[in-house]
Symmetry: C2
Subunit: 346 residues, 2 copies
């Protein structure tokens, strides 16, 4: 055996082909990549002559034998993700898999670090709640044939496996519910984000108003940066409440926005729902224990997490050709915070 | 190079010593283990003759070069742990380390699985929030010289590095606070657990009552199994409220117990604090947004998490002889839920 380890690059140089091609062939993917039989044979012969040893990583990715799943969540301190992580763990354990978790902190760079760290540590595959601007890393995982399933968030322009809530429909239902309960000036606080699920939540809200013949006022939609939630939400509420068309109802696009918003609403002394009705995405004890229980969009956390694990394990075992893309419906849980508006007699 | 990999066992057999001794010597620990110089030299010579290659694991543990920390938390769906995980990540990142997280689900077996998985994946060291009955695995990590720091929970009988809240003092302060605010029948709901921090919380509560000349009534302390929180808390509250000495104040030993308890207190229609005063461990938005903001013991999450990372990195770099054992004080944040009792005029 030679002193230095033989790499795919060495084989590629000797065969006069690209490293990607060598990788395809040595990973048994020559059919998918339409490599000529002759070239494939040549690559294999050179690999054999050079006594090439595939790395542990490549081996484990092929055999799926580490029985470890890497779960990348967007923010561990958000109870939605923490709870879904718990479901993924429980479900993975049922299949004999251990889950290693990384939190990207809604940061694409950190997400890439975590993927690198976990790929090098031989996870069989990934379940990923994507951070903003991480579409290229998702594309790269796909190109490298590393098995993964996107959870809760996906990129419509990349054909991947995903399991997600139908964010558009959920938001549309929330808007329609508020209209039916006689609210007319319905605002929304969302994230200022390029993430598709956030755009969908905003689109659902806008369409609900439009389809119910409510003319949208420009001050009713506020987009807050995720690294500036507290002051962003305060500013948004101040502007929405003091506009010439002040809001009488408010949809929070996430749990974190709602928590900041409710604290500020308490500080302002506004009565929910009489002075401001509330509906929120996300779910947490706080919605149940607030003085006026909060109407919320219940995402199917258990079903989402379980299905993501099932899809990934199916992918590891059967390598299906077509990606599985599953949208699940959120359920509007009606509580006191959005009950039918009391109308004042003129 | 021989075909099969030379192991520590091979060297031990040839040298006629234990594998542990070989491990000590080859990991540069001969001084600590008081191995004779002659034996150490012999072991090193045999290792060299056999062309022994330390495994990646051993290498990475010695060099601390993977720049990855394994964080084992007790339950990812508990906001206390989720928040402390976020702090550990942020602090580790400042030092250039990536954190991989596993959640043991308060289960010692799962904790062992995670440690095995992460040791095999070459983390430099661990930060661990221990599950019940995991003292043996902590002892084993210590015996194997794998660097780790215990966080929030520790085993007083094992001399390890740890960073923890002073749980006894926190609980004592809570009890004393309730006595000062004129409550006389002070109950506590805790976990039925062998974990030292839980025993300490109970001891602090009992001592606070005793030192304030309040005779403890047997119905005032209830211990609930962690896998039966909801019904356990209901049963506990029913018994505490219907005893011949019904409680007028209640200390919850954890956030999860408090959330279950507050839901049931709402259901019973009890007014906080007039009919029942509340103090709780843990911290979460729910305590702030409850109709009557909840007095809680604020654990120094940021300081705990940061110090655990600092200790571990110091351990990786400098290999200090003595374990660092740090207790930090919780702060009682007084809110409306435990304000001075209204006394009825006879």
């Amino acid at each position: 055996m030679s002193k230095t380890k033989v790499s795919i690059k060495d084989i590629a140089q000797k065969a006069g082909v690209s490293t990607a091609l060598v990788s395809y062939v040595l990973n048994g993917k020559e059919k998918e990549s339409r490599v000529g039989q002759e070239i494939a044979l040549k690559i294999k012969q050179i690999a054999s002559e050079l006594n090439y040893q595939p790395s542990h990583l490549a081996k484990s990715l092929r055999s799926g034998k580490t029985h470890t799943i890497g779960l990348i969540i967007a923010d561990i301190s958000n109870p939605f993700f923490a709870n879904i992580a718990r479901v993924v763990e429980d479900e993975a354990k049922r299949y004999g898999y251990t889950v290693i978790i990384g939190s990207s902190d809604e940061n694409a760079e950190k997400s890439q670090d975590l993927i690198d760290v976990l790929v090098n540590r031989q996870v069989d595959g990934f379940i990923i709640v994507s951070a903003e601007n991480s579409d290229q890393q998702v594309q790269l995982l796909k190109n490298k044939h590393i098995p993964f399933v996107l959870l809760d968030r996906y990129f419509p322009e990349i054909a991947t496996d995903f399991v997600s809530t139908d964010h558009y429909k959920a938001s549309y239902d929330a808007g329609t519910h508020l209209v039916r309960n006689k609210y007319k000036h319905i605002g929304m606080i969302a994230y200022d984000s390029q993430l598709f699920h956030m755009k969908e939540r905003i689109r659902g809200y806008r369409d609900a108003l439009q389809d119910n013949n409510i003319t949208h006022h420009s001050s009713w939609l506020k987009e807050v940066r995720i690294n500036d939630i507290e002051s962003g939400v305060k500013r948004a509420l101040d502007e929405m409440l003091s506009s010439d068309q002040p809001i009488d109802a408010l949809l929070f696009a996430t749990y974190s926005l709602a928590v900041s918003g409710l604290k500020y609403i308490n500080k302002l002394g506004l009565k929910v729902p009489d002075e401001l009705a509330i509906v929120s995405f996300g779910q947490a004890e706080v919605f149940e224990l607030y003085y006026c229980p909060i109407t919320y969009l219940k995402q199917p956390i258990v079903h989402l997490g379980q299905t993501a694990v099932e899809l990934l394990i199916n992918k590891l075992k059967n390598k299906p050709d077509e990606p599985a893309q599953i949208l699940m419906q959120a359920e509007l849980i009606e509580r006191a915070s959005s009950k039918t508006k009391k109308t004042l007699k003129a």
